[in-house]
Structure formats: C-alpha cells, structure tokens
Symmetry: C2
C-alpha cells in the first residue's frame, strides 16, 4: 500500500495534531502536563455510573411509562439515529442557557467532534465552498474540514474574540475570488486555544453581520459552564432570532469525557425538503458515519441531567471553583517567574482552561519532546492551531486538571526550560 495512493489529507500535518495532542500525555506519564485540556477527574466515581443508569431507567419506566422490556431495548438495542435523550437535552438548554429548542432539531453525537464532522459534511457541496474560522482555531475543526477538502479561511480574533472588520473583508475577498463561504466557526466562551471570550456587544454585532452576510455561525461551547468571576454571558444561540446559529454542545467537560456524548442544535429550515430541520439532514449523514450514539453513553448523561435538575452548571459549581482557583494560581505563578516587561508574556482569560504564553524562541513539537524528556513538563505548541504559519513562538498552557502543587512544579520546570532556551539563544552564532 502506497501513502501516495491514499487520501491526500493523510499527508497533512493537521491530521497528526489530534493524535499527537491526545497521546503525548500517555507517552510521558511522569511529566506534569500543562498540555491537556481535560476536565478534573479525581471526583469521578465508578459507583455513580450505576446511579445515573438506574436514574434514567426510572425515568423511562415511571415518567414515560415504558415496560421493562422496552426499557431494556432502549438501553441495549439500536435506536433512533438522532438520539434518545433529545427531550432531556432540550430541557437542559432551557434551564442553563435560556434557549428554547425543539427536541426534534437536536442530534445527539459521539462527542462534539462528530457534530462538527456532520455539519461540515452537510455544508460542503462544491469545490468553491470554504469555511471561515476565528484563528487560531481548534484542530478538530480544521482537521475535519481538511478531510472534506474544505479550505478554512482564518478570521482574526483581535482582542474582542472576533475581528468583525476582518470578517467582512475576508467574506468580500472570498466572494470576489469565486468562493462560496459556508460558515464561520467560533468558540465565544473561553476559546480553545486562546481563552478569549466575546463580549456582549461583539456577540450582537456578530449575529448582525451573520444575518446581513447570510452566513451560518457554528457556535462551539465546550467551556461555557466554567466562567470566571465576571459571570456568564448569553450564548449566540440564545441571542439568535434569525436561525443563524448551529449550536454545538458537549458533555465531555461537564459530565464525563469517557461517555463521548455531544450534540448539535440545528433548527434551520431546509427549503426543498418540506421545510424540515437541518438536523434531519445531519441525522441522515450520521446514519452513515456511526448509525447512532451509544444509548448507554446517552443514558449516563441523561441520568446526570435528571439527578441535577437539568443544570450542568449547578452540578459543576464546585469544579468550576477549582478551575477558577487553578487559573488564578497559574497567572500568579507566571507573574512570579516572569517579570513584567520581560521577554515572556501571556494573556489573562476570565475563565475556561487555557492561557497563551509568548516566548523568545521557537516552541515546536521538537522542543516539546525535549521539554518532556529533559524537564518533565508538557505544553502545547500553538502552531497546531494555525494553518501553515503562525504561533511558532507561543505555547498553550492548561491548568484545568492539576493540583496546586502540580501547577507550581509545572511552572518551575517550564521556567527552567525557558532559561535553558534563552541561554542557548545567547550562545548561538549570529
């Protein structure tokens, strides 16, 4: 078998990124990981699984009136392509986001990743189609787009999370080039990798721009539950009055990564299909990708929602406090180690998992390997979140799943790496 005979996307470094980022922690278990955007897991309890499962079974029998046989078939057999917990997710969206969504417009997916995959597959129709994305961009979006031969045009983030003038200019240029922009991908709350959030006026202005430009917004919201002290801002979907937003949600960070359950709300009406929902088109594609999302996994998420009155925000209150504390410790720890006005700088997100650090040397995969081996600290090269160029001297730091001690140890080791690289640069021939 020849690589040259396989899909050309396989020769793109982008396709390596997700594996690389996912597995680097497995390769270096002794390192302190400032790399992984994982939720904390020391409160996960195998006994809870059983509780959630039986909570969902009770709901099926007591609330929906299913007999024992039908309960077992719901949990164990093949089922509805768009999912079996759409009603419960709709209630969760009402409670936590103030969003009224028709359950029929929800597709339950194998993580948010499958939702992105389905959206891009549906939207990519012709060679002239392109996607736009606020850059730097989560690799799961750019990678999925690459698989479908859908170019991704970067839109500047700026300080507000999306530079609307740049968005307009990109759209104008793309259309002048004969391209057809299909969507803009944006993470309005604590974006991965920058940690930046859109302020409220920017949210309104973005929706207005999308309406004027007839552009679908893909709003991806994995971190929205983990706000800083400033509190929560409404999602784009909750402010949307013109069906401009396809909303991608995830229970990976709020319930359990190992359940692999996400969803998309896609209540756009499709002309030419009796004004059915866009979600139904996504469901057809899903039937050829994974058939349906594991009903067992869905049951665990459902049990969690039922046990916590449909609020993952309230259920995650204690955990969110820990993330806020970790973020404060990390920012304070950076200040102690890298003096103001020096050659190492960073941004100050108001919540979420990520900080971006700028350093005076190339921070690529090679340096990460060296850092893991010699300094026992992991971080993420920002270049993974750019296209061909960008982010070469930036690191993404995550503090989500660390103890205070690990944060200090990790930063000590990072500071040692920085000192080493500085002195190497000083010794290098000019």
């Amino acid at each position: 078998m020849e690589l040259a005979e396989l899909n050309a996307a396989l020769d793109d470094p982008l396709l390596e990124s997700m594996n690389f980022l996912n597995e680097v922690a497995i390769r270096f278990p002794d390192s302190v990981s400032l790399a992984a955007g994982r939720p904390v897991d020391d409160h996960f309890d195998p006994a809870e699984l059983e509780g959630y499962l039986s909570r969902f079974r009770r709901y099926l029998s007591a609330d929906l009136g299913y007999d024992q046989r039908r309960v077992a078939q719901t949990l164990f057999q093949y089922g509805r392509t768009k999912g079996i917990i759409h009603d419960l997710i709709a209630r969760h969206l009402r409670v936590d986001e103030g969003v009224r969504a028709d359950p029929e417009a929800i597709v339950v997916t194998v993580g948010a990743q499958e939702a992105l995959h389905l959206l891009l597959r549906a939207l990519r129709a012709e060679p002239r189609d392109v996607a736009l994305a606020v850059a730097p961009t989560y690799v799961g979006f750019t990678g999925a787009a690459r698989l479908m031969d859908l170019p991704v045009l970067p839109v500047a983030s700026g300080t507000s999370g999306v530079d609307l003038a740049d968005l307009r200019a990109r759209l104008l240029q793309a259309r002048a080039d004969g391209l057809r922009p299909r969507c803009l991908y944006v993470v309005p709350d604590f974006a991965n990798p920058t940690g930046i959030s859109l302020d409220l006026p920017t949210r309104y202005r973005l929706l207005e721009a999308a309406r004027e430009e007839r552009l679908l917004l893909i709003e991806d919201n994995p971190y929205g539950a983990f706000t800083g002290q400033d509190g929560r801002l409404p999602t784009l979907r909750s402010l949307d009055t013109g069906a401009q937003v396809a909303y991608v949600g995830s229970f990976a960070k709020t319930v359990l990564p190992g359940a692999r359950v996400g969803y998309v709300v896609a209540d756009q009406r499709v002309r030419g299909r009796g004004h059915g929902y866009f979600a139904d088109e996504l469901g057809k594609i899903k039937s050829m990708v994974t058939v349906n999302t594991s009903p067992l996994s869905q049951a665990i998420v459902a049990g969690h929602l039922l046990a916590h009155d449909f609020s993952v925000i309230r259920a995650n209150a204690a955990v969110a406090t820990r993330y806020r504390r970790n973020m404060s410790l990390m920012l304070a720890g950076l200040e102690r180690r890298f003096p103001a006005g020096g050659d190492v700088t960073w941004n100050v997100p108001s919540g979420g998992f990520f900080i971006v650090l700028s350093v005076p040397f190339r921070a690529d995969d090679g340096l990460l390997e060296h850092s893991a081996r010699e300094h026992k600290v992991l971080w993420t090269p920002m270049s993974h979140f750019y296209g061909r160029t960008g982010g070469e001297t930036q690191l993404r730091l995550s503090c989500s799943s660390l103890t205070p001690e690990d944060i200090e140890t990790g930063l000590d080791r990072l500071a040692a790496l920085v000192a080493e690289q500085r002195s190497r640069a000083a010794q290098a021939p000019r």
Copy 2:
C-alpha cells in the same frame, strides 16, 4: 437554507435508507417485524453491565497493575485514539478466528459503520477512484461511499456469494474506463441482505484474484458467529497470507448493540510512512470523526470478552441455537404457506439472520407502509440494497429476534398481504 446548496448526497435516496430501516419499527410498534436485523435482546440484563464493568476494572488493576486513579482515568477520560481494548480483541481473534493480529493494527470504532467510513475515507483519493461491492449490498457501505463521492460498482453474487468471472470483468472494464478500483466489499458469512455464504474454494479463489489484481478486500463479518448446522468456515482474513484483507468486526450482534463497538484489523504496511500500519492512517482519520470510541462502551465489551475466555462464539452458543431454530421455523412456515412451484420463492441460507423472498408484485417502501398499517407486518424492500435498479419484487425477511409465535403470526400476515396483492394484480386493467 436551500437543499440545493447542501451536499448532493443528501438528495440521494440511499441516505434515507438507513434511517428508514432503523426507524420503521419505532413508527409501527404494534407490527410484527420481519424487517429488523437485530439480535435477540430478551436475555440482556442491566445487572450484567455492572458485572462486565467491574470485570474490566479488575483486569486493569490485577493484570495490568494500574492504581485506582489510573483505572478511573482509563474508564472516564479521553484516551488512545485507536482504542483501549485492542489487546483483548487480538486475543479474541486468536481464540475465535485463529487469526494472529498485532494489537497495534486494530482500530476500535463506533460500530462497524465507523470502520467502513474510515476505510472508505482513507481509500478515496482521486475522482477516478471507485469501490466494488458484491450486490445486493449492505446500505451502510454504499451510503458511506456516496457521502465520499466514491462510486460503487456492483459485482454479481451468483450462487457462490461472489461471481469471480464477473469480478474480473468489472475490474477490466473499470480500468479500461480510466477508473481506479480501490477495494471490494464482501460479507463472506451470511451476507446482508442475501444470507448467502462463500464456500471454501470460493474464499481461496477470491483471495487469489485479489492478490493478482492488487485489490484490497474489505471483509465485513457481523454474522459469522451464527452458523447453521454445517459449522463455520474460516474467514478470508484467516486464510490471507498477502495482507489483502481489511477485516471489519462488530460486537453489536454478539455482545450488545447499544455499546456501539466495532473494530477494523488493518495490518497492511504503508510505504511512504516508514512501513507503518494502515491502521495508523485510519486512526488519524478517526481523530477527526469521533476522537475516540467511548471507553465505557469498550469496557463493557472487554468485560464480556474476559468473562467468556475471549470467545464470543461460545458465549453466544445458546443464542445461535435460537437463531437456527428461528431460521428453520421461518423456512418451514414459508413452505406451508407458499406451495412449491408457485409465484413466491425464496433462498435457503445455512445460517445468519436473512432470507430473500421473491414475489409477483412490486415490494417498495409504499407497499411496506401499507403492509404496516393494514396488515401489521414489517419487512424490508430489497431495492434498498441495490443501486438505481434491482430487487423491485423482492423482500428481505429477518427472523433473528422473534419468538416462534411471532414468526407464525408474521408469516400469516405476510401471506394475507401476498394474497391481497395477487388479487389486486388480477383485477388491474391490462
């Protein structure tokens, strides 16, 4: 949103098939379903889940020496893209199939469907690429290929399960037309929808033809555990000495449909990638489709394998006996209702789930709706398994998950439908 602006595959009836077939039983719960290719489920016990989960946890701690934290992280966190139970699946393949596969060449997938999706995505590189498939063909294969703009050329099944002369002729013609054949999809054991199996000489000859033609065989084996009285034949993969076979397995029928766990063994070496496994390329694609398969789902399958000494065949012995009994009852019931030499005929599979019935009238989706409403019996129009034409007067019947009483009731209702359609045809103007 305009349908005409979306991916053209969404306008292909093929994409409706999987949903339609999956959900028709949900729409008509009072019907007897001779449609669904489901495993029996009355022996599924929610209590067993817990047992399988704790069996796998014991394996992680006692056999692999994981501490409690690492056990929890293995179950609950993100994990290895290619899966976490690859070693156990390799042991299962040795026990049940006599196959020695490197665990690193296995990708655990969200059902067999994702495995087919990954294979086709990797193999489809250029517009001239085509797949071949024994026709009639499982819609999950043709539908996934349609999503990727990969035409599927039909190869005649004949009485042996694959007509090798037709295969050679199709390949010759395709290459003469400037096309590049990438693979042949075949279900050697009790194919869906025909129920036909390849005999042993045909298996050897097919492997020989694949070697000579440098053609990858995609062997899909969801029903291999459910043999008739003639016993099992070796899989293509187990006879393969030239890395001609990508083997797709599923635990949906043998362990639990609701776990959504399948896998692919792809130990072809990829030149241009340091002779790494084809499985590694599939893993890269998977990272952009579903990131990884739910570790909880994998844990349940793993617990089942551990609890049954890695043999799903032995674990399914009692169930397989029921499938054989059902098939005998169905065949005997057809004989009693439709006399030999008449206008209704069928094939006699030696195992598996499916029988194909030929009738003297069009058996399309419209007639199925009528059959469900008026006669309360479901079956599958064979036209779903063909391309644009074929199977118009054929039905697929499944007897896998029925009681003996349901089989008799279902066949009575089917006979009433046949009688009604016969008399309508007799009354129709010529």
